[in-house]
């Protein structure tokens, strides 16, 4: 019976395709409309936070950190409330991770602060002596790519109807006009930091990566 198929490569390939495509359809499609709805009150990431999220991706923090609090008492005691689907509606891509070499970060904004992150990212061992997390000193000098983050905001607004305000538009002028807003947000963070080079850079209108990533980490609540 099957020998016939093995002599007809075309039907063989079609057969394989149908058999493997089938499961995908049943598993994935039914959930699609449902799971992209934001929970009430969820705000899209600010441009500075998006820039921080891109630093998180660039340096692959996901290699060690999850962002998914599972429904176990031990996890909610350690990290906070169970994660809900609607909280991720603006996460493109999702950043749940698959390995906790370090702790979960989905609500780290609730229990860590700017100055702590500053110390920790500069030298994790200075706050957690046994830490095996690498130091990210280069984030204090690398300048964050805010324009790309802005472009991302424009993209998700135009294509996925993410609710950003009218001032976010895909033109050079709109971007120039928006820049000072991002800088204002960065200044608030830099004010809570101690590193003088970072403060100077922000005063000059440049935003080091560390400021962006702290904005992002503080937002994780």
């Amino acid at each position: 019976m099957f020998h016939w198929l093995e002599k007809n490569p075309f039907f063989f390939a079609v057969g394989v395709f149908i058999v493997i495509a089938f499961a995908g359809l049943i598993e994935i499609l039914p959930n699609f409309a449902e799971a992209s709805r934001p929970i009430a009150g969820l705000k899209p990431y600010t441009v500075l936070e998006l820039a921080g999220k891109n630093v998180y991706k660039k340096d692959t923090c996901i290699a060690c950190h999850s962002q998914l609090i599972r429904p176990f008492k031990s996890e909610t005691d350690r990290y906070g409330q169970v994660s809900l689907s609607g909280e991720y509606a603006y996460d493109r891509p999702f950043l749940w991770g698959s390995k906790r070499t370090g702790p979960d970060l989905h609500r780290v904004g609730n229990y860590r602060t700017t100055d702590w992150h500053e110390n920790h990212m500069w030298d994790p061992k200075s706050v957690v002596p046994q830490s095996i997390m690498p130091a990210y000193k280069h984030m204090f000098t690398n300048i964050a790519d805010i324009e790309t983050a802005y472009a991302e905001a424009v993209t998700v607004k135009n294509i996925f109807a993410t609710p950003y305000g009218d001032e976010i538009k895909g033109t050079k002028e709109a971007w120039e006009a928006y820049k000072p807003k991002v800088l204002e947000e960065a200044k608030l963070i830099a004010a809570d930091m101690k590193n003088q080079d970072v403060k100077d850079a922000v005063a000059k209108g440049e935003i080091p990566e560390i400021v962006a990533i702290i904005a992002y980490l503080n937002r994780l609540k």
Binding site: N31, S36, P93, S98, P134, V154
Partner: protein
Amino acid sequence: MQSNAALEYDYTVAKLFTYTAILFGLIGMLIGTLIASQMAFPELNYLFGEYGTFSRLRPLHTNVVIFGFTVSGVFATFYYLGQRVLKVSMAESKFLMFIGKLQFVLYVILALGMVVSLLMGYSTSKEYAQMEWPLDLLTVVVWVLWGISIFGLIGIRREKSLYISLWYYIACFLGVAMLYLFNNMEVPTYLASGGLGSIMHSVSMYSGTNDALVQWWWGHNAVAFVFTVPIVAMIYYFLPKESGQAIYSYKLSLLSFWGLMFVYLWAGSHHLLYSTVPDWMQTMGSVFSVVLILPSWGSAINMLLTMKGEWNQLTENPLIKFMVLASTFYMLSTLEGPIQAIKSVNAIAHFTDWIPGHVHDGVLGWVAFMIMSGLFHMAPRMYKREIYSKKLMEAQFWIQTTAVVLYFTSMWIAGITQGMMWRAVDEYGNLMYSFIDTVAVLHPYYAIRALAGVLYVTGFVMFAYNMIKTMSSSRELTEEPQFRSPMA
């Protein structure tokens, strides 16, 4: 039946991919050993500034071993054995020869682009799909070219019915094509924002839970269609060919194949247990993972039974040793996986080192063992020289076997311990351990794993050396060996 005496097969493309398999295997495993060492000795994070941290290197490790080493191995073995089981030579078609070479050239460009862009930090942060969109496009081209080669060769075949290995190569081609496309749907922000920001950057078409579903539909099946399906293709050819034994049971081959095709895709949601995807989907992933033991073990058992009565081959031929042990490690990972997919077990296993443990008994003991034995078997036929050293191969076998055992046992203990420590509460109901306690306790296991890495890489260097010597200076053969590979 008479085999190939009259036909001269053309191994140009198979040889090219053999070189990249060796090269990327070496690079990927060196990086693997480095990141393993960084977890034990974090000071090693600072060897190359921003480019040397664990987090920049880890995706480089996975991408180089998967898209560099494994995929090269898949292409090399296909271009070798595809001709032979179809009884046509690449030399018979100028067109296919051109496609094969073009595929290789583009593949090398892609691989370089991948290494450079990941080091620079261009990453979408989706596991096993980190490459940004321009490289995705190139990947699609390379893959389509491979498809043309597969179906082109099949189109001009002399052997009417497709050998088992080809079933699996076809499935590999189709599965990866479908899943890769869906998972990498992304919008380049530069194009969508009227030319603002970086041209490399993109956002995923899917968000949150949906993105997770698509990602692990791919992620799990990348395992299926890259680490399993084409490797099964290899063992179905190389083991009987090297041993001269006939396949134990056609029926078992058949049911295992269609069983695997049907069941594998359902299991993807075992990566999302206790997440925010609907309960029924998670349950389905768990249930089908358990079913999956059988079609997986079916192939392994078929291979072991093929060797019935051939104990002397097992003791005398290190290549047979590699392949028999590969089947066993395949059985280990395809039982361990399903058990880790049971929800209660996953509550402990997920997020811990037990998962990388499971991963590496598959990739080191099964994938890499099979690719190395395949290439070893091919070398005397492709270069018309005997294998340079049997002793070296024998030593390599024991060193690497020790390495795999050290790797998976240390991570097994580490993961189970860590998972249980995260959950532990003291007599008053408070968490017993701070997070850093659960990190510090792992140090000895991380050190053992780093040692395992050093051993495994040592074995791989021996493999590379043996191969290069075979290519260049080993004794020449006058006649192609029919079964057992000659070795000095």
